[in-house]
Every structure is written in structure tokens, then in C-alpha cells.
């Protein structure tokens, strides 16, 4: 009797799966894509523990334990790239995070719908521009000899500023370009959260004699607190990652001491110097740190009573 049931059940499962055949067919190319381009490379990480030899390939190269990691952790350039990654990310976050919230609050106060729409369109635009173009524009504006900004400064009698050619100023320019590019885009999430703030709270505060500013501090901000916390945690969990485009395109030989971040370093090491094992080991180190930060941030969010991010 029991055996019969399972047979029946098994048949039922098969029939059910057959009903879903189109869904599985739809999933097939995507699964194939993920296996080939995401999971096979994960196997390739093994070369971080091998002495990679071009002729022997990923499979044939000799294992060497943690030799590659020992070499990397002893390298000055590696730690420099870690420091620069954290430095640039932290500074960008410190400027862009509060500014994004402030601009969102400012936009939220606008009653004229058309005015708001136009301003939003303009603010979102830079998000869609490639880093090559941003770097081109930046060099036109900030070049020391003939950049527009320096031309204006000099016509006012000031000295030209090496925005792109001196390490301190380069960091300033890098942060500026990032903020310029993403600040408008970042407001979308906050504006969405702001539309759901309870209108009656404002009315109550207004009747109690709260000023506009007090209403923002005591009503608006607490209402979007959970979005703010979630966004902050998401940003912090990306601290160890900087896309390659911005530092590679804005950077130049004179500012390498601050513009060389982990991604550009793995690129130069791996592609330009063909040190596959070293580059892969750094990538693995970065991924692991990312996961640790992510898990910690998620734990923290849950501990303070917010929704997690995973």
C-alpha cells in the first residue's frame, strides 16, 4: 500500500513537472549562463593556490598552498591599494550620503510639480553618462594649464590648482565627480520613502507650533529612518569595492599613490603583468572581506531592530 502511494506520488510529481515544462525551458538558458560565466570562474579561483603556468592551464598548474597569499600580504603595493579603496570610498560616502538626503528633503519641499520634474530630470542625467565621458569633461574643466575652472581662477588673480595632478587635489576631484554623477540618482529611493510619510503628523506638528525646520527634524527624518539605515548599511557593505572605470580613467601617473585601488591593481597585475595567480588571490581576498562586511552589517541592522539586507 505504502509503496503504491509513493509510486503515485512520484508520478504526480512528474506530471506536475511536465505542466511546468515551459518554465523550465525558459530557465535553461539563464542557468547555462550562470554556470558558464559565474560558476566556472569560481572554480578558476583555485589558481590563487597554484603556481599558474600558462602552458599547463588552470587544471595542470602545480598547487602551492598559501604561497601566493604570503607574497601578496608582504607586498607594499597591495596594502596601498586596500588603503586607497577604503579612503576613496569613505570620503565619497561621507560627502554623498548626507548630501543625498539633504537634496531629497529639499526636493520634497517643492510643491510645484513641473518645477520638481525638471529639476529631477537634470539631477538624474549624470548617472547615465559613461566614465570615459566624465573623465573627458573633468580634464576639460580641471586641467592645470587650460582647464576652464583654472582659467576662471587665474582671471580672478588666483593661482592654478592641480586638480588632477596632485594627490590631495585628485582625491577632491574624484569625490566631486562621483558626487556629481550619483547624487541625483540616489535621491529616488528617499523621495519614494518621503511620499509615504503620514500627512497627519505634519498637521499635528504644525498645530503645535513647530517651525518648518523642526517639522523636518522631528517628523520627516524619523519617518524615513529605516530607509536611511538600510541605505547606509548597503553602502558600507560595498566599502572594499570600487568599480575600475572611475579610478582608471580619472587617474594618471602622477597620482598613482592614491588612485591605485584594488580593482585597478588586480587589473594591472593580472592583465598587464600576466601574474594570474597573484591577481586572483587578491580578488578572492576582496570577495571574502566583502562577505564578512555584508554579514556583519546585516547582523547589525537586525540588532538595532531594522530589516536585514540579505
Amino acid at each position: 500500500m505504502k509503496v503504491k502511494m509513493t509510486k503515485k506520488e512520484r508520478k504526480a510529481v512528474l506530471v506536475k513537472a511536465w505542466n511546468y515544462k515551459w518554465l523550465y525551458i525558459m530557465l535553461l538558458p539563464v542557468i547555462l549562463y550562470y554556470v558558464v560565466f559565474k560558476y566556472v570562474p569560481m572554480y578558476g579561483i583555485t589558481i590563487a593556490f597554484k603556481d599558474y603556468n600558462v602552458f599547463k592551464g588552470v587544471f595542470g598548474s602545480e598547487w602551492c598552498g598559501f604561497d601566493v597569499f604570503r607574497k601578496i600580504f608582504g607586498s607594499k603595493n597591495f596594502w596601498l591599494s586596500v588603503r586607497n579603496t577604503l579612503l576613496l570610498n569613505l570620503l565619497t560616502l561621507a560627502v554623498s550620503f548626507p548630501l543625498t538626503i539633504i537634496v531629497s528633503l529639499m526636493l520634497n519641499e517643492v510643491i510645484n510639480v513641473r518645477f520638481k520634474k525638471v529639476i529631477q530630470s537634470v539631477l538624474y542625467l549624470p548617472h547615465f553618462i559613461s566614465w570615459v565621458v566624465v573623465a573627458g569633461i573633468a580634464s576639460n574643466l580641471f586641467s592645470e594649464q587650460d582647464g576652464t575652472v583654472n582659467m576662471m581662477l587665474m582671471s580672478l588673480g588666483a593661482k592654478a590648482i592641480p586638480f588632477l595632478g596632485e594627490e590631495g587635489w585628485w582625491i577632491f576631484t574624484y569625490v566631486l565627480c562621483n558626487v556629481w554623477k550619483e547624487i541625483g540618482w540616489g535621491t529616488i529611493i528617499y523621495l519614494a520613502a518621503l511620499t509615504s510619510v503620514d500627512e497627519t503628523l505634519y498637521e499635528a506638528a504644525y498645530l503645535d507650533g513647530a517651525t518648518k525646520f523642526q517639522r523636518i527634524i522631528y517628523v520627516t527624518l524619523p519617518s524615513i529612518k529605516s530607509v536611511v539605515v538600510t541605505m547606509l548599511i548597503l553602502q558600507i557593505s560595498k566599502m572594499m569595492t570600487i568599480g575600475l572605470d572611475a579610478p582608471l580613467l580619472l587617474g594618471n601617473k602622477r597620482v598613482m599613490g592614491v588612485s591605485e585601488v584594488i580593482s585597478t591593481y588586480t587589473y594591472r597585475l593580472g592583465i598587464e603583468s600576466a601574474k594570474y595567480s597573484d591577481s586572483t588571490a587578491i580578488g578572492l581576498f576582496q570577495s571574502l572581506i566583502n562577505i564578512i562586511i555584508l554579514l556583519a552589517a546585516d547582523k547589525f541592522a537586525k540588532a538595532i531592530g531594522e530589516e536585514g539586507i540579505i
Binding site: 506536475k16 515551459w22 518554465l23 525558459m26 530557465l27 538558458p29 539563464v30 542557468i31 550562470y34 558558464v36 560565466f37 559565474k38 560558476y39 566556472v40 570562474p41 569560481m42 572554480y43 578558476g44 579561483i45 589558481i47 588552470v58 537634496v103 529639499m106 519641499e109 510643491i111 518645477f115 530630470s121 539631477l123 538624474y124 542625467l125 547615465f128 553618462i129 559613461s130 570615459v132 565621458v133 573623465a135 573627458g136 569633461i137 576639460n140 574643466l141 587650460d146 576652464t148 582659467m151 556629481w180 529616488i188 529611493i189 519614494a192 504644525y206 518648518k212 575600475l244 582608471l248 580613467l249 588586480t266 593580472g270 592583465i271 591577481s279 586572483t280 570577495s287 562577505i291 555584508l294
Partner: protein, 288 residues
């Protein structure tokens, strides 16, 4: 609405917002002004907000360059084919995995989401792309990055929120999932498809690093790669140096004209899709 009257604070707020918008827009104005100014004006650094000694010379030169045209056509191809492929794959995956009763749904979803947190990294991926024979082909610019996990989540959330009654009625009438997707779900999903299409297309259009990594043959250079060469040396600088100062100054206008030409498609498409993508980002922010 409690207070509709114009206060000092409100006026300051409006003025500040206009200033911020101006800061966002000014770099584009600067580029435009440079691209259509005469070269004496550019040389003396007088160009700031508006063109001086208006000329279209830079555009004539840029549009006469076969390299630019070829790069443009390469980029258009990659963008169109890549976006189509991405949309099909993402829609299929998102629709299939939005069905709550599909056996194995959780495992497959986890399998996809995991790649958001962990990956092989630069070199292992590079070796795979090389290994499957995509190196130095245009396919390397869209096949290895055809599905974006974030976009997948956004679409799946959208499909999940569609009213179920319509699909259910069609199921009872004996329609297959493919028929339901094509005939019922897709017509209801145009806003999200437009949004995803914009995100993918902009991504492909702006791709610089993948082209740098995978393309060797200069005939297959994409617009961004070509642009980078024009902006920061490699090609025009050497030519400019040979032909003296006049030529070199011309390059500054030429550079900015190229910047505008290569950004124009985005600037043209952008306003039409704007009303959609805000919604798309918001759907994505709601965790699925």
C-alpha cells in the same frame, strides 16, 4: 497641504535647487560651448558658458572620420543585440521564478542570487571568456554580462505583483506558460521592460572596461574605447604634435565634439523613458 504661501525659506530652497541643477548641467554646457567655438577662443581659454566665434568645424571633422563611424556602428550593434538578449533572458528567468508553485524555484533563485555576493573575479572570468572562444569578438561585450541580478530581482518583483486572476483564467482555458507570458503578462509589463531596456542599453553603450579587456583588433573598437584614445592620447596627440599648435588646439574642440556625439543617443532617449525608470528603481528597492 497646509501652507501654500511663499515664504523666504521656500524661495531659498528653490534658488538652491536651481543652483544644484545648474552645477549638474554646467559640464555639458561647457562641452557644448567648447565643441562649437573657434580655435583662437579655445586657445586663449575664453570659452566658459557660451560659444565664442561659432563654428561647426569640429563636427565636420569628427563626422568625416571613418574610425568614429565604425566605432559608432560597433557600439550600436553591441547595444541592440546585447539589450535584446538581456531582456529575453531576464524576462524568462524573472517570469519563471515569479511562479510561487514552481518546484525547485528556491534553489534556482538562490543559485542566481549567490553570484551577487561571490564571484570568480577578474582573471578566472577572463580565462573562461577566452576559453569559450569569445576573446576579441563583439560577443565578449554582451554575452558574459547578459543577465544582471539586480534587474532580475526588479522584474521578478514586478511579475509577482501582477494580478493573478488573469493568468489563472488563461491556465484554466488550457494556455501554456509561454502563451500566458507572451499574450497576457508582457503587454501588462511594458513600463518595466522599458526601464530594464534602458538600464541594459545604457550599460552596453557605456561599457569601457570589457572592451579594454577583451577587444584587441582596432577595427572592433567600441565608441568608449575610441573616445578614450581620442581624449587621452594614443591617436590625436601624436598627430597634433606633428602638425603644430593650430592642430592641437583644434583637438580640444574636436575632443568635446566627440564627447557630445557619443553621448547624444543617451540624451535623446533619456527624457522619453524617464517616467518609467523611477518606478523601476522603486520596485527594485522593495525586496523580493
Amino acid at each position: 497641504m497646509i501652507d501654500r504661501k511663499l515664504t523666504v525659506g521656500k524661495i531659498i530652497n528653490y534658488i538652491l535647487l536651481v543652483l544644484i541643477a545648474f552645477v549638474c548641467l554646467y559640464p555639458f554646457l561647457n562641452v557644448l560651448a567648447y565643441s562649437v567655438s573657434g580655435y583662437n577662443a579655445v586657445l586663449s581659454g575664453r570659452v566658459t558658458f557660451y560659444p565664442i566665434d561659432f563654428t561647426m568645424e569640429a563636427y565636420k571633422q569628427i563626422l568625416g572620420k571613418t574610425q568614429i563611424w565604425r566605432a559608432m556602428s560597433t557600439t550600436v550593434q553591441v547595444t541592440l543585440i546585447g539589450t535584446a538578449l538581456s531582456l529575453v533572458l531576464t524576462t524568462f528567468a524573472a517570469y519563471a521564478l515569479s511562479q510561487d508553485d514552481l518546484p525547485g524555484r528556491k534553489i534556482i533563485t538562490g543559485f542566481i542570487l549567490f553570484t551577487m555576493y561571490f564571484g570568480g573575479g577578474l582573471i578566472p572570468t577572463f580565462l573562461v571568456v577566452k576559453g569559450v572562444g569569445l576573446y576579441d569578438t563583439l560577443g565578449a561585450l554582451f554575452i558574459p554580462q547578459s543577465v544582471n541580478v539586480f534587474n532580475f530581482i526588479v522584474m521578478r518583483t514586478f511579475f509577482k505583483n501582477l494580478p493573478e486572476s488573469l493568468s489563472e483564467a488563461a491556465r484554466i482555458d488550457g494556455a501554456s506558460y509561454m502563451q500566458i507570458l507572451v499574450k497576457i503578462v508582457l503587454p501588462l509589463s511594458l513600463p518595466i521592460i522599458a526601464t530594464m531596456g534602458l538600464f541594459y542599453a545604457v550599460g552596453y553603450w557605456n561599457t569601457y572596461f570589457d572592451a579594454l579587456l577583451y577587444i584587441q583588433n582596432p577595427d572592433k573598437y567600441t565608441l568608449q574605447l575610441r573616445l578614450r584614445g581620442l581624449l587621452f592620447g594614443e591617436e590625436l596627440n601624436s598627430a597634433g604634435n606633428l602638425e603644430g599648435v593650430g592642430m592641437q588646439v583644434m583637438t580640444q574642440s574636436l575632443k568635446m565634439a566627440t564627447v557630445l556625439v557619443s553621448t547624444l543617443p543617451i540624451l535623446v532617449v533619456y527624457p522619453w523613458l524617464q517616467k518609467y525608470f523611477v518606478k523601476g528603481v522603486m520596485v527594485g528597492s522593495v525586496k523580493g
